[in-house]
């Protein structure tokens, strides 16, 4: 083990460790909503880029869902050709400032990096973020627009899948209109992932870029109610892409779940992020956060909820998860961040009942302890309740972050659209084509809850297929 405060190694010898990400101090950041990770300086980026071996057969690329040419862009950073580096990235990824921040890199590109075999892998995501932030600071070039094809495509949902499909279709020369149900575009990027992990001005800048490509965005437009997909074809659209995400929160169906003070993670995060209730009463939407907060679940959504609750002034925030630490599905980096900030975890426990006060506000949560049994379908060991181990936790706020399912409005209002029993839309994997000709889908609405980059990958594939479909169709 390296001793702390060791002098930095001579630059000639490459470190086995990645250059650490500069961050706000845990004590300070636990009480503000500013971004936690501050981003590499130029020197840090150069030092980290120098670690990459520019492998001739790079494994990292295999791990990236959009097959970013990683060695090429890192080489350009080494050569200080930042403009070219970002151009290289944007050939494959139209939202790099976002992916560099929120991709689960340790599960994707970095997992397969050769350096990982002898030490830490190249910090690909951090370098990607560096190049993207460099460009945002400098001002993004307006792309040259291709000649119009005269074809019109409607995109439903302005999350990562819809935005990516829109950008690529505009680059092909089609007229693109995005219909977004909420009052701002961005999907989970604006209503779910908190400011301290992904500043909203970054999302705004990426959306601005997509608008510069000629894409029109109509907000307040819930498709299925305002227009059906059939209506869209009648209005002159030649193809439709559905990217409506997995936005319906799940509950546990246990007694007391509708007491005051019990939020779905979606409600909690929508209030905080989208409606900016952390700035109430300057902003009109209130949020009530108590002193003792329990968050149920163990994914990114649970971490984001717990860390937001802390920032809103909760005294104690406890994550209650029914498996053990090893099984936590959240990103390692975010678990560490949460722990540094003082969030505690209660593993191998699950709530069975909520107890309310006379006003109908939650005051306690009865839990039961678990032990891990045989692996279930997901390959993780199934938690089994231990009889007689019930105990009561004092809580005054509970956030339920146990997963979300597809929003059903499109499925129930579109005749002939085939879905699975989980409500996800069935598509041809290569093209994203649904059971209705000219209607494509991708992102969480097809896969169930996944990642930003996989939703973008689906948007890209569908854009290519839609382009082919439109160019073949003579009219």
């Amino acid at each position: 083990m390296a001793k702390p405060n060791q002098p930095t190694q001579p630059p000639a010898k490459k470190s086995k460790k990645a250059v650490p990400m500069p961050k706000q101090e845990p004590k300070v950041r636990a009480r503000n909503f500013n971004e936690v990770a501050l981003g590499y300086s130029e020197e840090q980026a150069l030092e980290e880029a120098a670690r990459c071996l520019n492998c001739p057969k790079p494994q990292c690329v295999v791990g990236c869902p959009v097959e970013l040419d990683i060695p090429a862009f890192i080489k350009l950073i080494k050569e200080r050709k930042y403009d070219e580096a970002i151009k290289k990235i944007k050939e494959k990824n139209s939202l790099p400032a976002i992916c560099g921040r929120v991709c689960p890199q340790e599960e994707q590109c970095q997992k397969l990096c050769v350096l990982g075999k002898i030490g830490e892998p190249t910090a690909i995501g951090r370098l990607e973020r560096f190049a993207a932030d460099y460009e945002l600071k400098k001002g993004v070039d307006t792309p040259t627009l291709p000649t119009s094809t005269g074809k019109k495509v409607a995109i439903i949902g302005a999350g990562p899948a819809g935005l990516t499909a829109a950008a690529d279709l505009a680059k092909f020369g089609h007229e693109v209109v995005i219909f977004e149900a909420l009052h701002v575009p961005g999907g989970v990027l604006v209503y779910g992932i908190p400011e301290f992990r992904l500043p909203k001005k970054i999302v705004e800048a990426e959306v601005e870029y997509i608008k510069k490509l000629g894409v029109k965005i109509q907000t307040d437009a819930l498709i299925g109610r305002l227009h059906t997909i059939e209506d869209l074809f009648k209005k002159g659209f030649d193809a439709v892409f559905i990217g409506t995400g997995a936005g319906l929160p799940q509950f546990m169906r246990i007694p007391g779940e509708n007491l005051g003070g019990i939020y779905s993670a979606n409600e909690f995060l929508i209030r905080v992020n989208l409606m900016k209730s952390y700035r109430f009463p300057e902003y009109d939407t209130p949020i009530r956060i108590g002193k003792k907060v329990a968050v149920i679940g163990g994914g990114n959504v649970a971490m984001d909820s717990a860390r937001s609750a802390l920032r809103l002034g909760a005294e104690e925030v406890c994550i209650v998860y029914r498996r053990s630490r090893e099984e936590l599905p959240a990103r390692e980096e975010e678990i560490e961040n949460a722990e540094e900030e003082g969030i505690v975890c209660k593993f191998l426990a699950a709530p069975i009942r909520f107890i309310g006060d006379e006003k109908g506000w939650v005051k306690g949560m009865e839990c039961i302890l678990m032990q891990l049994g045989e692996p279930d379908e997901s390959g993780r060991r199934r938690p089994v309740p231990i009889k007689g181990s019930e105990f009561i936790m004092d809580v005054d706020t509970v956030i339920v972050a146990i997963g979300r399912t597809p929003n059903p409005i499109i499925q129930t209002t579109t005749k002939g659209l085939q879905t699975t029993k989980w409500g996800t839309i069935i598509v041809d994997e290569k093209t994203g084509q649904t059971s209705i000709p000219g209607v494509f889908a991708g992102g969480d609405i097809v896969t169930g809850e996944a990642t930003v980059i996989s939703a973008m990958g689906a948007g890209k594939r569908a854009a290519r297929a839609i382009n082919e479909y439109l160019m073949q169709k003579k009219s």
Partner: protein
């Protein structure tokens, strides 16, 4: 941006707006609602559609000034605009020929109920209409409702006009057979009417108004218990079977943000309220 075309005051603190929103007007049906957001810092507030004109491309809302957002809304005038208007949301009211229908409206919700009642009458139903309010000055849509009713009653909590309270409904129900009851109004009133109709086995449809955030099935703030099951008011409703709703839970859930709402309202008035000096 959505422009206000007409503004009228129907009763103290109850206002009617006709708003230019052609796309919504084209699709709207009785019983659906919209979500309004006034400005960049605004809250998303649900209001029921009280009318639409597909030719003019307008929808009508009628609202009660109860807190910060509705007070601020009430200060807007003809020609002013609202930043966001999403809709139509929720399931339309079930309209078909039932036979004889008891229609009961309370307070501000009498306005959207008129739209539903008109559709019920056009579908061939015979209507007994009851229009109610706390006091006589707060009664709205009396004339309109009377015009489409086969039988018409007014009720006030204090008895200042018409019947006092809702007890007279029992007599009405025991004298006549009803095939259905449709109720829109304050939750407490909907609860009372549902309790009155239950022994007579008259299917009673209520429009629930839980607190909402997105209004599109994304947050679960609007969850209500119906027949022991959790439902989302915005996508499963807003209409539900009044005999199966857990009204007491709904009443508690509606009060969740009371302290914060007061803060917002006081804060708003401190910074000057609105220019019209009514806040």
């Amino acid at each position: 941006m959505y422009k206000i075309i007409t503004k009228r005051e129907l009763a103290p603190k109850i206002k009617l707006f006709e708003i230019h929103a052609p796309e919504i007007a084209e699709q709207a049906r009785p019983g659906q609602f919209v979500i309004v957001r006034l400005h960049e810092k605004g809250e998303r507030v649900p209001l029921t559609i009280a009318g639409y004109d597909r030719h003019k491309g307008t929808i009508t809302i009628v609202f009660n000034e109860v807190g910060k957002t509705t007070k601020e809304l009430g200060c807007l005038n003809n020609g002013d605009s609202i930043l966001n208007l999403a809709g139509p949301l929720g399931n339309p009211s079930e309209i078909q020929k039932f036979g004889r229908v008891l229609v009961v409206g309370g307070g501000v919700m009498t306005a959207p109920l008129y739209l539903v009642a008109k559709a019920l009458r056009d579908a061939g139903n015979e209507l007994t209409v009851v229009v109610g309010a706390r006091i006589k000055d707060l009664l709205i849509y009396e004339k309109e409702m009377k015009n489409i009713a086969d039988e018409f009653y007014v009720t006030t909590d204090d008895g200042s006009k018409g019947q006092k309270g809702l007890d007279f409904l029992k007599e009405l129900l025991s004298k006549k057979h009803f095939d259905r009851a449709v109720v829109m109004g304050p939750v407490v009133m909907m609860k009372t009417v549902s309790e009155i109709t239950k022994p007579f086995s008259v299917k009673t449809i209520v429009t629930l108004t839980p607190i909402m955030v997105d209004g599109m099935g994304m947050c679960g703030a609007c969850r209500v218990t119906v027949k022991g099951e959790t439902k989302f008011g915005c996508v499963d409703g807003p209409e539900f079977d009044g005999h199966a709703v857990d009204f007491d839970e709904l009443i508690k859930r509606q009060r969740v943000y009371l302290p914060e709402e007061r803060v917002a309202s006081v804060f708003y008035e401190k910074i000057g309220g609105c220019a019209c000096g009514e806040a």
